[in-house]
C-alpha cells in the first residue's frame, strides 16, 4: 500500500458546489417557453376505469395539452417486467397510479386542469395483506403478465439435512418478526425538464440512478431510437433506490415530444410519496437451532415480502433476503423459502440494502436469544459461527477472499465489555 492518491482523504469533487449552492438539481433548470406538467393520480387502490373525460380540462384557458393512455405509443415500462403503464388505461392497481397528464402555461393552471379530468371508476375490492393475497383462491392482480397467482417469485434454499440438524440442536428458538414499509425520504422530490433540442433529439434532464436505463424506457415508450434520446443526469439529491424505476421521465418526454415545447415537472412531497417505490415490508418466520457449544446447526426460515402493485425489483429483493437469511454465519442445514407477493399496496422496489436489510432483524435477534439461552455472551455466540475465508454459505458458495467479519468483531470487542441495566 504505497499509493500516493488511493487511500487519501481528498476532497469530493462535488463538495464546494453543493456547499455554496452552485450545484444544479433538476428543479433548478428551465428553458425559455417551457410549459408545466402535472399528473392526475388515482385515489383508489383497485379500480376499473370505465372512462376518462378530459374535455373540461382541455377547455381551461392556458392548457396546451391533455394526455391519457391512448396518447402513449407503447404504454409500458418496468425494470424487470414492463408491467407498469405510463398512463393507466383500464386497471388501477394502487393509489397513485397515473391516469392523465396536463401541460399548461403555468403550474397553477396545470394543477387546476388535472382536477377537472373526470374519471369514472368502478371500485374493486383490494388485496392488502400479502398472506391473504398468496392464497390460491385470491383473485389474480396481474393475470396477463404474471399469471393466475399473486406469488410473483419464490426462492427455496435447501442445504444439508434438516432432521439431522434439529437432532443435533440442544436449543431451538422460534420467533416471528416484522419489518415495516419505508419511504426513501430523499430530500429532493422528483423533477424533470424535457425538450426537443436543435437536432430534433429529445433531451430529458433528471436526477436518476441510471441515465442509460431511463433512455431505453423513454425510447421504448415513445417509439424512438436510443440515438434520438438524451438523458442527462443533474445533481441527485438522494436516491437510495427510489430513483431506479421511472417516475416523471416518460410523461414529460411524451408531452415535450408531442407538443414540441419544453416541459417542466416537479412532484410535491405528497406526490413523491404516492409515486415512487417503497421498501418491502417483510414477515420473517424463523426457527434456529444451536448445540450447547453455541454452534448453529439448523435454520428454517419463511420470508414473505409485500411486492405491492407492480413487480419492480421484487423478485431480486426477496431472492437477496433468502440468500442473506442466515446472517454472516455458517449453518450446515437450512431450509429457506422467500416469497414476493403482489397486493394493492404501493409498489415495493429497491431501497438501500435491498432485501438484505430486513432479515438482519430476525437473524441477529435469534443470535442474542440463543446466546442468552446458552449462557454465552452475544459476542461469543457470534465468534463461534461467523464466516471466515473457506466458509460455505447457505447457497453452497465458498468464500475465497476478503472476509473481514472476525476483524470487525475484534475491533468492537472493547466496546462490549459493559452490560446494560436490564442484566
Amino acid at each position: 500500500m504505497n499509493e500516493a492518491v488511493v487511500g487519501t482523504r481528498i476532497e469530493r469533487e462535488d463538495g464546494w458546489g453543493k456547499v455554496l449552492g452552485e450545484t444544479h438539481f433538476p428543479a433548478d433548470v428551465n428553458r425559455p417557453g417551457e410549459l408545466y406538467g402535472a399528473v392526475l393520480r388515482s385515489p383508489h387502490a383497485h379500480a376499473h376505469i370505465r372512462s376518462v373525460n378530459v374535455r373540461a380540462a382541455a377547455a381551461l384557458p392556458g392548457v396546451v395539452g391533455v394526455f391519457t393512455a391512448e396518447n402513449v405509443p407503447h404504454n409500458a415500462h418496468g425494470v424487470l417486467f414492463r408491467d407498469q403503464q405510463v398512463l393507466v388505461s383500464e386497471c388501477v392497481r394502487m393509489v397513485g397510479d397515473p391516469i392523465a397528464a396536463v401541460a399548461a402555461e403555468t403550474e397553477k393552471i396545470a394543477r387546476e386542469a388535472i382536477a377537472r379530468v373526470e374519471v369514472d371508476y368502478e371500485i374493486l375490492p383490494g388485496l392488502f395483506d400479502p398472506e391473504e393475497a398468496m392464497k390460491p383462491d385470491a383473485p389474480a392482480l396481474h393475470p396477463d403478465m404474471h399469471g393466475p397467482s399473486n406469488v410473483l417469485y419464490h426462492l427455496p434454499i435447501r442445504r444439508g439435512d434438516m432432521q439431522a440438524g434439529w437432532t443435533k440442536a440442544d436449543v431451538v428458538v422460534e420467533k416471528e418478526y416484522r419489518t415495516q414499509m419505508l419511504d426513501h425520504a430523499f430530500l429532493q422530490p422528483e423533477a424533470v425538464l424535457a425538450y426537443v433540442d436543435e437536432r430534433g433529439h429529445l433531451v430529458v434532464k433528471v436526477a436518476t440512478q441510471y441515465a442509460h436505463y431511463d433512455r431505453g424506457e423513454i425510447a421504448h415508450a415513445l417509439g424512438l431510437k436510443y440515438s434520438q434520446v438524451r438523458v442527462k443526469t443533474m445533481a441527485v439529491g438522494g436516491a437510495f433506490g427510489g430513483r431506479e424505476d421511472i417516475s416523471l421521465q416518460i410523461i414529460a418526454g411524451l408531452m415535450a415530444w408531442t407538443l414540441r415545447k419544453p416541459i417542466k415537472m416537479e412532484n410535491t412531497r405528497t406526490e413523491s410519496f404516492l409515486s415512487h417505490s417503497k421498501r418491502h415490508p417483510m414477515r420473517l418466520y424463523y426457527k434456529t437451532g444451536a448445540t450447547k457449544d453455541g454452534k448453529l446447526v439448523a435454520l428454517e426460515a419463511k420470508i414473505i415480502g409485500d411486492a405491492g402493485a407492480y413487480s419492480s425489483w421484487s423478485p431480486n429483493v426477496v431472492r437477496k433476503a433468502a440468500i442473506h437469511a442466515t446472517g454472516p454465519y455458517e449453518i450446515p442445514n437450512v431450509q429457506i423459502d422467500s416469497y414476493a407477493v403482489l397486493t394493492n399496496n404501493p409498489y415495493s422496489g429497491a431501497m438501500r440494502a435491498f432485501g438484505a436489510a430486513q432479515p438482519v432483524l430476525a437473524y441477529e435477534s435469534q443470535m442474542d436469544l440463543l446466546a442468552e439461552a446458552l449462557g454465552l455472551s452475544p459476542l461469543e455466540m457470534r465468534l463461534r459461527n461467523i464466516f471466515h475465508v473457506g466458509s460455505v454459505t447457505a447457497t453452497g458458495q465458498m468464500l475465497t477472499s476478503s472476509v473481514g467479519m472476525a476483524k470487525c468483531l475484534q475491533a468492537l470487542t472493547p466496546y462490549l465489555a459493559t452490560k446494560g441495566d436490564a442484566s
Partner: protein, 343 residues
C-alpha cells in the same frame, strides 16, 4: 427512569447485480496533450462519491493529482452505459472498468515512452508526480505533458475504452444453490441506547461501526457512507414507517413520516477494516448498502439489554416499548420487573 443498554449487530451483503446477471461497467479514457486526463462513464454519482473515487483511481495510475482528472458521468450522449448506481457496485465494478481503461491507455503511453527513452521494456517506465521517465535513471525523464504532446506529433494518441464484468452465477431455482454474489461485504456495529421507561422513548447515544471495505480508496468518504447509513438505520429501527389503510398512505408528508433529525443521530465512531479483495481496484469493495445493515439489529438488541423487552416488529416506537414493558410487568409481576430492570 432512564435505562442504558448495549447491543451488537452483525451483517453481510453480497455486492453487484448478482444471480448471474451480467454486471458490466464501462469507461472511456483520454490522456490530453497537457498531461491531464478525462474519464467518461455512465455511472451516476448520487451523492455516494463515486466520481471522486474514479478520479483517485485514474490519478493514481497516471501519477497525477486528482484535480488533473475530469470525470464525466450520467449523460447518455457522452458516456458509455455503466449500469445503475445501486447494488454497492460502482467503487468495485465501475472502479475496475476505470482502472482497466486507464491501464489500457497507459500501456501504449509506456510503450511509446520506452521507445523514446531507448529503454528496452515498458516495464522500466514510471509515471510519477506529473513526470514520465525510466525507473532508476533520472537523466531519462520529462514532464508527462511534453511526452503526450510530442507523441501527437508522431501520430500517437492515448485513448481507450474498457469494460469490466463482475463474477456471479444464478442460483438453482429448486434448491437455491449457486454463487450469486461477489464480493461480499461484512460489518458489525455496537449501539449504546438509553430507554425512558416512562415514555418508551429510545435515544441512541452512540454507534461504533466496524466495516470491512477491502481497501478504503477515500477514508473520508467511507466515514460519510457509514454516517449516512447509521442515520438511516436509526430511522428504520425507531421511527420511520409508511402507514397504510387499505392501500392509502396515511402519512405522505415529513410532518407525519418521521425521519431522524440532527437530534436523533447518535455519536458515530467509525472503524475501517481492510481485508483486501484481490479482484477489486486496489483491493477495494463496496460499502454503500452494507453500512446500514447492522444498525437496526444493534439498536433492537441494545433496547433488550437496557429494559429486557424484545421488539420483534419495527419500528420500535415508544408505544410498542411501553406496551412490552407493561406486558413484561404483567408476566413477571412488580417484583420481577424491578428485579429485571433495576438490578
Amino acid at each position: 427512569m432512564k435505562k442504558r443498554g448495549i447491543g451488537l449487530g452483525c451483517g453481510w451483503y453480497g455486492t453487484g447485480y448478482g444471480n448471474g446477471f451480467p454486471d458490466v461497467s464501462s469507461a472511456f479514457v483520454e490522456i490530453h496533450d497537457d498531461g491531464s486526463a478525462t474519464v467518461s462513464t455512465g455511472a451516476v454519482d448520487v451523492g455516494q462519491g463515486s466520481s471522486t473515487v474514479f478520479a483517485q483511481i485514474a490519478a493514481e495510475e497516471l501519477g497525477l493529482e486528482p484535480q488533473d482528472i475530469t470525470v464525466i458521468t450520467g449523460d447518455t450522449d457522452t458516456t458509455p452505459d455503466s449500469g445503475t448506481s445501486a447494488a454497492t457496485r460502482h467503487t468495485y465494478n465501475t472502479g475496475n472498468a476505470v482502472l482497466k481503461a486507464v491501464r489500457e491507455a497507459k500501456e501504449r503511453l509506456l510503450d511509446h515512452a520506452a521507445h523514446e527513452f531507448s529503454c528496452t521494456s515498458a516495464q522500466g517506465i514510471e509515471l510519477k508526480e506529473g513526470w514520465i521517465g525510466v525507473i532508476g535513471d533520472p537523466s531519462r525523464r520529462q514532464p508527462l505533458a511534453d511526452m503526450v504532446f510530442q507523441a501527437r506529433l508522431h501520430g500517437e494518441r492515448f485513448i481507450s475504452a474498457e469494460s469490466s464484468t463482475a463474477r456471479t452465477t444464478p442460483v438453482d431455482r429448486e434448491n437455491g444453490q449457486g454463487a450469486p454474489y461477489w464480493p461480499y461485504a461484512f460489518g458489525a456495529q455496537v449501539a449504546e441506547v438509553e430507554v425512558d421507561t416512562e415514555t418508551g422513548l429510545v435515544q441512541v447515544l452512540r454507534i461504533i461501526a466496524a466495516h470491512d471495505v477491502g481497501r478504503a480508496i477515500n477514508p473520508t468518504q467511507v466515514e460519510g457512507q457509514i454516517a449516512g447509513a447509521v442515520a438511516q438505520g436509526v430511522g428504520y429501527a425507531l421511527m420511520e414507517e409508511v402507514e397504510l389503510h387499505e392501500g392509502v398512505i396515511k402519512n405522505p408528508a415529513f410532518s407525519s413520516y418521521l425521519i431522524p433529525t440532527a437530534l436523533d443521530v447518535p455519536n458515530i465512531q467509525t472503524i475501517i477494516v481492510e481485508e483486501e479483495e484481490i479482484t477489486g481496484p486496489y483491493g477495494a469493495k463496496g460499502l454503500g448498502e452494507p453500512a446500514m445493515v447492522p444498525t437496526l439489529a444493534a439498536v433492537v438488541n441494545a433496547i433488550y439489554d437496557a429494559v429486557g423487552v424484545r421488539i420483534t416488529s419495527l419500528p420500535a416506537t415508544p408505544e410498542k416499548i411501553l406496551a412490552a414493558l407493561v406486558e413484561k410487568e404483567r408476566t413477571f409481576g412488580e417484583g420481577g420487573m424491578r428485579q429485571n430492570i433495576d438490578s
